[in-house]
């Protein structure tokens, strides 16, 4: 019984090593060796880059997207609640108010920190 427990673990490790190591070894053995300068480019088959490629993008895009997602998600939750409003009653109403309140705090925070201004 002890032996079979250990065998499983052993096979697990051997299998993992074979799959990982096998791929590397095979490609090392059979790959053609033609060394050119282009091979060392990050994207071998693209167009040569002009100027420095490490440019910064404007974070305002990201912030807008983030705020959009917040209200997108809010709407998803509001619809089913609105459809079933009559049967859900007061408890769900208070719950939804709390949910909206948390989102509004988030919007307030984003607004105050200047996420809505395009600088």
């Amino acid at each position: 019984m002890v032996l079979s427990e250990w065998t499983g673990v052993l096979l697990f490790f051997i299998g993992g090593l074979l799959v990982g190591g096998g791929a590397i070894v095979t490609s090392y053995l059979i790959h053609p060796r033609r060394i050119q300068a282009q091979k060392y480019e990050p994207y071998e088959c693209g167009v040569d880059t002009i100027g420095p490629t490490w440019v910064q993008f404007k974070t305002s895009y990201f912030l807008y997207a983030l705020l959009f997602v917040i209200f997108d998600v809010e709407t998803i939750y509001l619809y089913p609640w609105a459809v079933k409003f009559q049967s859900l009653g007061l408890f769900a109403f208070i719950e939804m108010i709390i949910f909206l309140f948390i989102l509004i705090v988030g919007l307030w925070y984003a607004w105050k920190e200047g996420a809505l201004e395009w600088k």
């Binding site: 427990e5 250990w6 499983g8 673990v9 697990f12 408890f91 948390i102 705090v105 307030w108 925070y109 105050k112």
Partner: protein, 474 residues
């Protein structure tokens, strides 16, 4: 719908506190937010009191998806204690970083995630708590956003957290696919001793996914880099809180949901524990940066705690809980010293700790006591914790107990190396380091707790006993 909200009171209070800190930050002008640390600390103390007051108030909510048993409450007390001590010790560091309100509210939301995780009764709640915790930590890890190291740590943490979440979700979905339920105790009833291969694959993925979170050894590569790059208070909270929360859910999933497969995962967990203990301790030896040293030591500690899972017994759970609780004090003590030392000198290198015993006897003493506790030297708390953990495996896994014993001896070497630098070497700069009030308080609390729990572990042991017992009463 009838929901007993008193069971949820600590979580609600913490969420309100987190939002409140964010709103306070909006109302108070940028230069005068120093008081927010105290508001956070006192608030956490209040939530801690509320959690302890609910010790006798057990139950489940929403048809079992949220479990409030003493096991969960004990872990919540652990997280809140950790959050309180970290907040108390980090105020000056945070003031220097700036943006206090966001920092403290993220910290509180991370704690909230841990509390949800400890109470999770089904896989959805589990994932919700895990992500709440992880996303808050991602923000915290790259908080010093002008520093390359911190940003690098943040990116590594994002990628690894994403990957481990994906693996975990695959595992959970496989378990759901086979058993047809996402509720942990129902899965436990559905899983039989004759497993299908898909279930075994799911279990292996769960081990891997949660292995990332507890930084068990083949899944530990992110730990040293992230621990080194993150702001030091975040590192200490990551080492204590995130790890304890992941252990809480690891135990819940494996012992409550997968006891039928015990024979299949016990050996895997035992080997992971052994490898983690060995690698963590051996790689810690050559480290020259104190945060990296503590990172590897925390990997080794995760290995020790994992030992408690091997037997899947009440005694094992007790060992894990006891160790997780005292580990809070040892780790936060050590990291608070590192935090304050960095504030004063701007260095994390071990060689700069030379002569710390002359510059600040309290800091040096806390560092040594914390480290010796982690090494498991009696009469400190770490010894008792290791005793409870290894007692459970002596009968069936003597080899694992031997590995733990030998590696504990190895760990004494690198812990004492730091002590030697602090006590033997002459300081380059003789100016004494004066401690601020809250930092001194944190250091004294952690030191006293480590000493008292080691000399007189009886009361805590009783508490842990009842908590571990509640685990087996669904």
């Amino acid at each position: 719908m009838n929901v007993d909200l008193s069971l949820l009171a600590p979580e609600i209070a913490l969420a309100v506190l987190g939002l409140g800190i964010l709103v306070l930050g909006l109302l108070i002008p940028k230069g005068s937010r120093h008081g927010l640390g105290w508001v956070t600390a006192l608030g956490l103390l209040g939530v801690l009191g509320l959690t302890i007051a609910g010790w006798d108030n057990q139950g489940t909510l929403y048809e079992g998806i949220f479990i409030v048993d003493r096991y969960a409450i004990f872990f919540k007390i652990t997280f809140l204690t950790a959050a309180f001590l970290v907040t108390l010790g980090c105020m000056r560091y945070v003031d220097e970083m700036g943006d206090q309100s966001e920092y403290y509210s993220m910290m509180l939301f991370a704690t909230l995630g841990m509390m949800v995780l400890a109470s999770a009764g089904d896989f959805m709640t589990l994932y919700l708590g895990l992500e709440l915790m992880t996303i808050a930590f991602i923000v915290l890890v790259c908080y010093r956003r002008t520093e390359t190291r911190s940003v690098e740590a943040g990116i590594k943490y994002v990628l690894l957290a994403g990957m481990s979440s994906a693996v975990l979700l695959y595992g959970l979905s496989l378990v759901y696919g086979v058993t047809g339920s996402v509720t942990i105790y129902e899965v436990g009833r559905a899983v039989t001793t004759e497993p299908v291969p898909a279930l075994i694959l799911g279990v292996a993925m769960l081990v891997a996914g949660l292995g990332f979170k507890i930084s068990a050894v083949p899944f530990h590569m992110w730990t040293p880099d992230v621990y080194e790059g993150a702001p030091t208070p975040v590192t200490s909270f990551l080492a204590v809180g995130s790890k304890a929360a992941s252990f809480a859910i690891l135990l819940r999933v494996f012992i409550a949901a997968l006891p039928g497969l015990w024979a299949h995962w016990t050996m895997l967990v035992a080997i992971l524990a052994a490898v983690t203990i060995i690698v963590g301790n051996l790689v810690a030896i050559p480290q020259t940066n104190i945060k990296r040293l503590l990172a590897y030591s925390s990997i080794a500690q995760a290995g020790y705690i994992l030992v408690g899972l091997v037997t899947a017994s009440e005694a094992g759970i007790k060992g894990v809980m006891f160790y997780a609780f005292l580990y809070v004090f040892a780790t936060i003590g050590a990291f608070t010293v590192v935090t304050y030392f960095y504030n004063v000198t701007g260095s994390d290198e071990i060689k700069d700790y030379a002569g710390l015993s002359q510059r600040s006897p309290l800091m040096a003493a806390v560092m040594v006591i914390s480290m010796l506790s982690m090494a498991g030297i009696p009469p400190l708390a770490g010894f008792v914790g290791k005793f409870y953990l290894f007692k459970t495996i002596v009968d069936n896994y003597l080899w694992l107990a031997f590995i733990g014993l030998i590696m504990s001896m190895v760990s004494v070497y690198y812990y004492l190396r730091v002590a030697l630098v602090m006590y033997r070497d002459e300081p380059v700069d003789h100016t004494p380091i004066s401690l601020s009030g809250p930092v001194a308080l944190t250091l004294i609390i952690t030191m006293m707790a480590t000493l008292v729990l080691g000399i007189y572990p009886g009361p805590l042991s009783e508490v842990v006993n009842t908590a571990a017992h509640s685990f087996f009463l669904p």
